[in-house]
């Protein structure tokens, strides 16, 4: 248990307190997160936000403190607290002709690198003759084809399907 406590301290940041001030920038977590006009469950959706979108935090609602007022692109509304984060998504290190370059999550998403399936290198690795000589089944070549099929199934999941799943799980929180 002592070990667990030590790890917990690590996980929680050893007492790091968050002092958020109205006007601070916070970030959306979750796909198609609704910015609602009010905290009512049937409130109109002003805009749908994406992971990493920055919004200006104005504070928790007094009556329903799990809902926080935020502003973005001239719109002011409410987001469920679990769909917000004080930290931006991680940046990614991309290679370019000029060398490696760090880009934020949104630039990464639109770079094309984010949508990469098995790379040519990984396919070459799996298809090389030397990797396909044993008796293990499936062969590496078959593993390549299976993984590419899986990647297609994953890549073809629409944002609507994922949003519907999010609604199914979290219901009114969105």
């Amino acid at each position: 248990m002592r070990k667990s406590a030590a790890v917990l301290a690590l996980v929680l940041g050893a007492g790091a307190a968050w002092a958020l001030t109205p006007g601070d920038r916070v970030f959306v977590r979750g796909r198609d997160v609704a910015l609602l006009q009010s905290t009512a469950t049937n409130a109109a959706t002003l805009v749908k936000l994406q992971p990493g979108d920055a919004v200006v935090w104005r504070g928790a609602d007094k009556k329903k403190p799990t809902w926080h007022r935020v502003e973005t692109s001239g719109k002011s509304g409410f987001i469920y607290f679990a769909n917000l984060s004080t930290t931006a998504p991680a940046s990614e290190l991309l290679t370019s002709p000029a060398g490696a370059k760090k880009v934020d999550a949104q630039a990464f998403a639109s770079s094309g690198a984010a949508g990469k399936a098995l790379t040519e290198g990984a396919i070459r690795y799996g298809n090389q003759d030397e990797k396909n000589k044993g008796e293990l089944r499936p062969t590496m070549k078959e593993a390549v084809r299976q993984t590419q099929t899986l990647e297609a199934i994953a890549a073809q999941r629409s944002s609507e399907e994922i949003a519907a799943q999010a609604d199914r799980v979290s219901g009114e929180q969105r």
Partner: protein, 360 residues
């Protein structure tokens, strides 16, 4: 035997080595084949310095995705293959995931469901824009494993044991956490340097290169060494055809080391904590994952190389209790948006969808 591989046993390593034609059991003629042009000590020193440079460079996304893809192929092969129905089509068609026509079969529908669940979770992670890919491997062993770049696999045996979607979400989130926290990088970076240096020693005819000499053919070692010679600093492009031998050298050893030792205990406990946060932030009850881990017997076929289930459950309960208490007393040490600061007892477990039946 292949079904045992994802149990992370040493038996699996033997099978892996035997399966690779690159591997060599006979070392009698290797030294003469490889070290026929033995490098000088000056050359060796320069090579070792290059290896340190390779190890010091930050891993780029391109490198992560390439090594992750190679590792993922190992998990698929050694897990007995994926529960997918592969369409007929040439290599070009298969290489275009956005346009590949996938048959509507029970096994493929299982994967559609799994990827919808997984991608919803991953959108709450710190790397929401990765091309996340979730798969089921065909083994009775109860396990889950990830690979750098966004690959997550669960076993058919694991799916037989989950009784609600919250449990499944917890397992997937734990693996998502390993990817977002880049836990594999600690093993990978050391593997790169060690393998690179073994290669340099092998070419120099030094005994420190014996492992590489034992495992690979002279031709392969020469290819890898040529790639090392061509390296001129900066990011290592493992995607390049000329570097295929290096990619193989690094991937094979990464897989070997992971199977041998897994992640560090602290990394597993942290992945539980981060995974639980993703699970709860997505709207699932944390009880699903905690109960699932708590019900696992200890043993080689059940999350081998993870801390004992009782330790993991204790750490997660401590986390849930402390964060809830901190929230009640308004001295939350975490973010004000910590998903734990709600009444998690009200969150649902959710029933599994019928698509999962294809794995049972």
């Amino acid at each position: 035997m292949r079904r045992a591989l994802l149990s992370l046993s040493m038996v699996a390593l033997v099978a892996c080595a035997a399966a690779s034609g690159i591997m060599r059991g006979d070392t009698s003629s290797i030294v003469s084949g490889v070290a026929e042009s033995t490098t000088t000590m000056v050359g060796l020193t320069q090579d070792l310095s290059k290896c340190d440079q390779i190890g010091a460079a930050e891993v780029t996304f391109d490198e992560e995705r390439t090594i992750g893809g190679a590792v993922a192929l190992n998990w698929v092969q050694q897990g007995g293959g994926l529960l997918v129905d592969v369409p007929t089509g040439d290599a070009a068609a298969l290489a275009n995931p956005k346009t590949l026509g996938v048959q509507d079969t029970p096994r493929n529908r299982l994967h559609k469901y799994l990827n919808v669940v997984g991608k919803n979770l991953a959108s709450r992670s710190t790397r929401p824009t990765l091309q996340w890919t979730f798969g089921v491997v065909d083994t009775e062993v109860v396990n889950a494993v990830s690979a750098p770049g966004g690959y997550v696999f669960v076993t058919r045996g694991l799916l037989k044991r989950v009784s609600n979607e919250a449990s499944l979400a917890g397992v997937l989130s734990h693996e998502i956490a390993h990817v977002t926290r880049k836990d594999a990088f600690a093993i990978y970076q050391k593997t790169k340097v060690d393998q690179c240096k073994s290669l340099a020693y092998a070419k120099a005819g030094q005994k420190e290169g014996a492992a590489v000499l034992r495992s690979y053919t002279p031709g392969f070692i020469n290819q890898a060494y040529a790639a090392l010679q061509a390296f001129s600093g900066g990011a290592l492009d493992l995607n390049a055809a000329a570097n295929n031998a290096l990619l193989t050298l690094f991937s094979d050893e990464f897989v070997h080391r992971y199977l041998e030792g897994g992640y560090a205990r602290d990394q597993e406990i942290q992945a539980d904590a981060t995974g639980l946060e993703i699970t709860v932030a997505s709207g699932y009850s944390p009880r699903g994952f905690v109960d699932f881990i708590g019900a696992l017997p200890t043993g080689q076929n059940f999350f081998a190389h993870h801390p004992p289930p009782s330790d993991r459950v204790a750490s997660m309960k401590l986390l849930l209790g402390k964060t809830r208490m901190a929230s009640v007393h308004s001295t939350a040490p975490g973010s004000p948006f910590s998903p734990f600061s709600q009444d998690v007892s009200q969150l649902p477990l959710l029933p599994l969808r019928d698509e999962l039946a294809a794995a049972r």
